[in-house]
Subunit: 129 residues, 4 copies
DNA sequence: GTGGTCTAGACCACA
DNA sequence: GTGGTCTAGACCACA
């Protein structure tokens, strides 16, 4: 999986890293149970500090996207809890995006098409026990 | 229009303010050409520093959402440039949201329903010259 | 409020710090809304790194014990959400403590007396809205 | 006796193991003098390294909960020394738990009820010589 | 002036 | 070999 960081972005490095891994999980580039690179390895590959990678991994762990065990490092969570409805945060973010899209002159039909395109790349399917 | 800021949020105050005004424009709560409160007035109402409001207004101006003139203060832009396609930033943000929604177990149909609900509140229509 | 860290403890410094602040809130040594020392100040006072204090504050914030705003630093949360019942974690920890106490030969009556003593120092009362 | 380890827990495996054995002793699931599984056996059953089980057993031995001899392996101690009063560590841990319970909105009466419930499962009685 | 982020480098516990 | 913790020091965004 390819990760590219923008050093001059407003978004902190650890957050960019977190975002790209979340997308990687959703698209299936990172399969469930797949082992992530070690903190050290990824830091070296990306040319950033281990602490920064550490922070990204800690965040992902806290959010339930990955599990970390001291034996084998970090892995994509086997099963991520599916919530009943949309989280309020997600809804708020989506509202802002749609507001901006609307003002930019994008109508609902074009927006839906865009969503469909993006969805078609998401191969993650929640595992129900 | 009601604006509520979360002082303990991760999102900077000026950005929260900017976001709510953008949403206000999209929903029509703030009509095109409508006059915004003065920096001083809004700062006082919200109990925050004028510099913070100033920063939000500057950002909105730079993004084309509002126009500012010395005589009449800030107003919602009469017409906001409609771009040809989705801005890459918007697409990136949307991809992240959809990734998270997917992992949370939300399928495309539920997502589309949510979008439709949000769109139904957006009354902004771009003015074509 | 007095904070003393054991540099040779198994418990990480940031966690010791977190624990003592939690106890300070419960005993009332730190009142609701009370301002905590700045990250820098506390780090200097304790002779530890700012990052370590930062981590403790972040944890406390995440747990809802304090709020941090960029304007005035960290403050004890005005009102901490009271949950319906005991969290499973708390119950698990308590079970372990009681197991150890039992094996050490402490009977229930002595344990309850000890609890009563400790409770008598806790002046925190949750604010209900 | 059933032991379940959480591989992704913050608590080290050897400590989880130690804790569950302590609880087992207190509840009577592990009787005084009862033979524990061999290090090798338990490691295999739990799917963890023998070193990890070894570390847990060493800790339990050091704390006086079990005795180990080369011929018969590990056994629950026939009699665990009862100390005069609560160990300072236990008191500290209890104080932290009570602080957290208080802030969560749990009052003393509910806490005592919870303690009583937990105590009712503890069947360990120290043997006095 | 405040917390947030990041670095380079180190040591340690866990497994 | 792995992540976790900690330091000294720096720069930056926010207010």
């Amino acid at each position: 999986m390819l990760i590219s960081l923008q050093l001059d972005s407003e978004i902190p490095l650890y957050e960019q890293l977190r975002n790209q891994i979340v997308i990687g999980i959703a698209t299936g580039e990172l399969a469930a149970q797949e082992k992530l690179p070690t903190v050290r390895q990824l830091a070296e590959d990306l040319g950033i500090n281990t602490m920064t990678v550490n922070k990204a991994y800690s965040l992902l762990k806290q959010e339930g996207y990955i599990v970390i065990d001291r034996r084998h490092g970090a892995k994509v969570s086997p099963r991520i809890q599916d919530s009943q409805g949309p989280s309020p945060q997600l809804e708020e973010q989506l509202q802002l995006i749609i507001a901006q899209a609307t003002i930019q002159g994008m109508d609902q039909s074009r927006f839906q098409t865009l969503c469909t395109q993006i969805f078609s790349k998401m191969t993650y399917r929640p595992t129900h026990i």
